[in-house]
Structure formats: C-alpha cells, structure tokens
Symmetry: C2
Subunit: 157 residues, 2 copies
C-alpha cells in the first residue's frame, strides 16, 4: 500500500480516537480495510462499557467479521493509532489479518515490535506484516494531550 | 485454592466445553470464580458466530465484567480447559485476573507457559499466577475425541 493511502486510513483511525476522547476514553482508534474499503471501525470503550475486552481493535475486528460474515479477515489491513497490546495482537492473529499499520509505539504493552513481536512470530499459525510509525506524531499527540488534561483536572480537585 | 476446589471448577469448565462440542465447536470451556462463586462462563463460539474473538475466555471475562459492573476482576480465578492463546492471555492481563488454572497445554498457540508465558511476564502491568494440568487427561480427551470424530466424518465423505 502506498504511503498516501496508509496515511488516509490512519486519519480515519485518528477520527475514531477522537470519538473516544470526546467521551473521556483513552483516545485509541482503529479501522480495518478490505479491498480498499473500510469494513470495520472501533474506538476504545473500556470505561463506558466496564468491559476489559473492548479495545478499539477488538470492536473493529468484530465489525469486520460481521461485514464479511466470516471470522477470517484474510487479505485485510488493520490501522490503529497505538501499537496493539497482547490481547489485540492475538485477535489479529486469530482473525488472519494480513497487514498491521500502527501510529505510536507502546512501551508499556506493545507486542507488535516493542516488548515482543507476537504478530511476526513464526511459531503461531498466522503472521501479520507490521509497519510502525504511520502519522506517529499525530497519534502520540492525541494520547499526550489526553493525559495532560487528566492530570490538570486532578490537580484542580 | 485446594486441589479439590480446583478440580470442582475445572469440571464446570469441562461442562462448558461439552456445550461447545454439542454444537460442533472445538470443545473449550471456561469459568471465572470470584469469592468462591462462578461469575462468568463461556465456551468457544467461533464458528457459530463467525467472530474470531469469541473464545471461551473472552466470553467468560465479558460476563464477569458485567456481573461486577467493572472491567477489573482483581482477586478472580479463571479456569479453562485448554491453555490460553495470545488473545485470551492478553484479555486476562487486561482484566487483572489473579490466578489462571488450565487443563491441557496447547503446543500450537499456548502463551501461559508453552510457547511463551505472557501471563507471568513482569514487563506487563499485571501478572496472573499460572497453574497447569488441572484434570489434564479429561481436558485433552475432549479435544482428541472431537478431532477424531471430525476426521472420521471427513473420511466418510
């Protein structure tokens, strides 16, 4: 995929991240592309749902599965603003997504190259090709601004 | 937790595995225990749902989150008939489950000690204590019988 298209889809993932921020959730967004079309979207909903599994990627994968009426997302590309955690990396492997593009690295839980690279580990029955750093500055800025705002609110209390 | 209780809850997870087998799903079952009570149950529903995320553990975690009205399952124990995959190991970390008891090891995707040990990796912000091999023979037998039956059906075609 050419860089221009990668950035186009990452901006769609950033739009999802903004939807999360607007309701006070940590701003992480994801879209899934299949045959040049977005077939799944998601943003972090952990606090609103009080469900530990509702990360952006899980919601986007579930929507894409429903769209294709198949748990197999072969040939699909996933765009996410923050490097996937182990749960989401595992869901990407389980759904056979072909390519993963992420924005900002996650030094605390990233398993698409930072702490581990689950997605390209040949011991699993599927590997996804990883490309890091798509619109990294924008993706990281969303998170930094969010946490700065939280700290400011806590200081006011 | 004493061995007798561990086996009691694993039999409940095996009951869930049998529910999966009864509808033609790979027989994997899970229960989550909190303060000596089962607050979440699940069995593999990947084929019926055509949703790559609907493993036994994810469904049990979602049910337990709903029961406690919290994404945090601190102090909870999870019992599952097959060693968790990366997705389910990640969901266990994300939901802060304290202890994981599994039946049969998974040489293809197990990340609670076999291929990796995500659950006890101190780089993540939470660790779950792992105990392997609870009713291992029974748990493995369910899977072996299921796949033997599938192979027999395929030969008849």
């Amino acid at each position: 995929m050419i860089k221009q298209d990668q950035e186009y889809y990452m901006r769609e993932a950033l739009f999802e991240a903004d939807q999360a921020a607007a309701i006070g959730e940590v701003p992480i967004g994801c879209v899934i592309v299949w045959q040049n079309k977005i077939i799944g979207r998601g943003h972090n909903l952990r606090e609103h749902s009080q469900d530990a599994t509702l990360h952006a990627e899980i919601l986007a994968i579930q929507e894409a599965n429903a769209y294709l009426k198949s748990w197999r997302l072969e040939g699909a590309q996933l765009f996410v603003t923050l490097e996937p955690c182990p749960m989401c990396s595992g869901a990407i492997i389980n759904s056979r997504i072909a390519e993963v593009y992420y924005g900002a690295p996650d030094p605390k839980a990233g398993t698409a190259g930072t702490l581990l690279n689950l997605l390209e580990d040949s011991r699993f029955n599927h590997q996804a090709q990883v490309t890091a750093g798509i619109l990294q500055t924008d993706c990281a800025f969303r998170l930094k601004s969010f946490f700065r705002k939280i700290r400011q609110q806590q200081r006011k209390k």
